[in-house]
């Protein structure tokens, strides 16, 4: 049996900075994962529906515009409402340290800020995938 880790990299909201998201997507691909990148301007509904259809193991949310408290939590809440609890959610971008505890409480497993070595993200995903 072949088991590939499937990851959805999503950019919620209006933020157009995709340099980091694309780098992470490529790094995860280079680590042997199947990465679905859905582009800019995704609503929580689009992200969650995609995650379900693609049966992903991980959702990576990227945001640099400051709207993470609303948008990341929207995604986590919607997943929770649909009783999807076996997907690892991680986030990255410009997210002040002081916001991280609330994000974690809402279900974001880890937040990777600026300067995070890409390998750290790959390792975290490999070690924390729930299925």
């Amino acid at each position: 049996m072949i088991k590939k880790i499937r990851v959805l990299i999503a950019k919620p909201g209006l933020d157009g900075h995709d340099r980091g998201a694309k780098i992470v997507a490529r790094a995860l691909r280079d680590a042997g994962m199947e990465v679905i990148y859905t582009g800019l301007h995704q609503t929580a509904e689009q992200i969650v529906n995609t995650a379900i259809q693609e049966d992903v193991d991980v959702i990576g949310l990227s945001l640099l515009s400051g709207a993470h408290m609303t948008l990341f939590i929207d995604v986590a809440t919607m997943l929770h409402k649909k009783q999807i609890d076996d997907v690892l959610i991680v986030g990255g971008g410009i997210i002040p340290e002081e916001d991280v505890p609330r994000l974690k409480k809402a279900g974001i497993a880890e937040v990777f800020g600026p300067g995070t070595p890409v390998d750290d993200i790959v390792t975290f995903v490999k070690q924390n995938v729930k299925r």
């Binding site: 995709d18 340099r19 800019l40």
Partner: protein, 558 residues
């Protein structure tokens, strides 16, 4: 430069790469880094000497400042006559909050204004649009109507100060609001000065705040050129940008090549419309990044001036002002770290110095908290002081282009120009800038460079202080800007009041007229101005254009 004979002697004396290992100096102190490449991946030699630049003729290839090909500067006396404009990009929350920040910056010595808009505004949505949820004021100020524009510039004399506005998709509308606000204050269009970024090509390539597809977007841009030429003569109707291309991960050479390529595309489009090149070209402006490799950045600006002057001459420009590559610079946001943020002050100082030595007309210095949040008052004040110290204390403004004649700088200027022309050729073979965008050429080049840079950092081939070396075990946090939570509510109420109080029939009529004109070929600025004056909102006006022009969505990862 030097006598050819002397250069031959010099070559023989040199310790070139091949002879390196024999040379005693290298054996005693071997190279402690595996390679010396700059950020464009160009190999840099240990020593540059006259033989590296022996082909250069001062008068034809470099020229004096203010003379073709303008390598040394667009003006003869540069900063001795007038310092660069200290123009700090600012905006957050509501118009009132940002207005306060503008007054603060002006008090502390900034000499030009620069507006950062929030994401809903950048995409042409009002604050109460469903897609604006959670985004109000987070990365810039929210402007949904003329009323907001009035509040934004309250107490600021628009005939005495210039304003740059970083707006692209809805640039024509925001510009119309600025003009309308000035007119309402009794200031004529002919007196106001400033810039709108209005550079849609780089949006598709890098910044991604586009609304409409390429063809109608270009039409709108040329409309603004035309309108500016006739009615707002002191306004730069475009800021052809490389900053964002660089921030997206490109190299310095790519930044240079892609920006100038975009610029030439706009010039050709305007000429196709029938505009006289010498009428609009003097009001084209540019916007570059100031990144870490000190000398590469300086060479980049110098090369940019020469390439632009040469190309504009080729296109038939006769007015010397049409050949001037005037630019604003911002220090590189992407080079600043969240770790040990105070040291960003040092990075910014060096980057700012490079911009000044490169002859920038206008400068924004980033704040130390760039990687954490929008600038706090203290952080932005230090950033401003950085410029003031360079201006007043460093002495670099005493002479124009102080690095002119440096073997390294002249060699690097030439090399960057060569590399740029290689990219021009590639793009031409793909059919031009817009076909190349549709084929994702630029996007792929940028993503490749970004990935390679990240790998270099992760593999410690490139050191970022505080991130992959000289780290702290315990980071200490610095206070960051807190925003007013009530701002969004206030804004929405203001919008609702605006929609109630205005003459709804007039708004509808003007929007209809805009719709009709948009389907045709007339210049849309007068119609947009009418809409804006009657208090149509940004969202309502953009929605009409969205209907007629359609919306652009990205077609590929890269």
């Amino acid at each position: 430069m030097s006598d050819k004979g002397k250069n031959k002697q010099m070559k023989e004396k040199r310790t070139d790469g091949e002879k390196q290992t024999d040379h005693k100096a290298v054996q005693e102190n071997p190279e402690h880094r595996p390679y010396h490449k700059n950020l464009s991946n160009l190999d840099i030699k240990p020593v540059y000497a006259p033989d590296d630049i022996e082909e250069i003729d001062y008068l034809t290839d470099i020229g004096f400042p203010g003379e073709f090909p303008f390598v040394r500067g667009v003006h003869p006396t540069m900063y001795r006559g007038r310092l660069w404009t200290m123009r700090q990009f600012a905006g957050f929350g509501s118009a009132e909050e940002t207005n306060k920040r503008y007054h603060y910056l002006l008090e502390h010595g900034e000499t030009g204004l620069s507006v950062a808009f929030d994401y809903p505004t950048l995409y042409g949505y009002d604050t109460d649009h469903p897609l604006a949820r959670g985004e109000f004021g987070k990365c810039g100020v929210a402007i949904s109507s003329l009323v907001d524009m009035e509040l934004l510039f309250h107490g600021i004399p628009l005939d005495k100060i210039t304003t740059s506005m970083t707006i692209n998709g809805p640039a024509a509308i925001i510009w119309a609001m600025y003009i309308a606000n000035a007119e309402n204050q009794g200031i004529s269009k002919t007196k106001i000065g400033g810039t709108i970024q209005n550079d849609i090509l780089k949006e598709y390539i890098a910044q991604k705040s586009y609304i409409f597809p390429p063809a109608p977007s270009m039409r709108l841009i040329i409309d603004t050129f035309e309108y500016g030429c006739k009615h707002v003569p002191k306004w730069n109707t475009i800021s052809i940008s490389g900053y964002h291309i660089r921030e997206a991960g490109s190299t310095a050479v790519q930044e240079l090549a892609f920006t100038l390529g975009d610029g030439l595309e706009y010039v050709k489009a305007a000429m196709k419309r029938g505009l006289d090149i010498d009428a609009f070209a003097p009001r084209l402006s540019f916007f570059f990044n100031a990144h870490n490799d000190f000398f590469e950045e300086i060479a980049k600006y110098r090369a940019a001036r020469r390439i632009w002057a040469k190309e504009m001459k080729k296109l038939g420009a006769k007015n010397p002002r049409s050949l001037w590559m005037r630019f604003h610079t911002q220090t590189a946001g992407c080079s600043l770290t969240a770790q040990q943020p105070e040291i960003n002050i040092v990075r910014v100082a060096m980057q700012a110095l490079a911009a000044v030595l490169g002859g920038t007309q206008s400068l924004h210095t980033n704040s130390m908290d760039e990687a954490l949040a929008l600038p706090s008052e203290k952080a932005v004040r230090i950033a401003l002081r950085t410029q003031q110290i360079i201006a007043e204390e460093s002495g670099v403004t005493n002479t124009v282009d102080p690095l002119g004649g440096s073997y390294y700088i002249e060699w690097l200027t030439d090399t960057m120009e060569e590399e740029t022309y290689k990219y021009f050729d590639k793009v031409e073979r793909l059919g031009g800038v817009i076909p190349a965008i549709e084929k994702s050429f630029f996007q792929r080049e940028i993503a490749e460079s970004a990935y390679r840079y990240q790998k270099e950092i992760d593999e410690k081939k490139r050191i970022i202080v505080g991130v992959n070396r000289y780290k702290l075990n315990e980071e200490q946090s610095i206070p960051i800007l807190q925003m007013d939570e009530k701002g969004e509510e206030r804004q929405i109420r203001r919008l609702q009041k605006l929609r109630k109080d205005r003459d709804q029939a007039a708004v509808q009529r003007h929007l209809e007229e805009l719709r009709t004109a948009a389907k045709g070929e007339e210049n849309l600025m007068p119609y947009i101005l009418d809409c804006v004056h009657s208090h149509a909102t940004l969202g309502e006006t953009c929605d009409v254009l969205r209907e007629v022009f359609g919306e652009y969505t990205e077609q590929a990862i890269y």
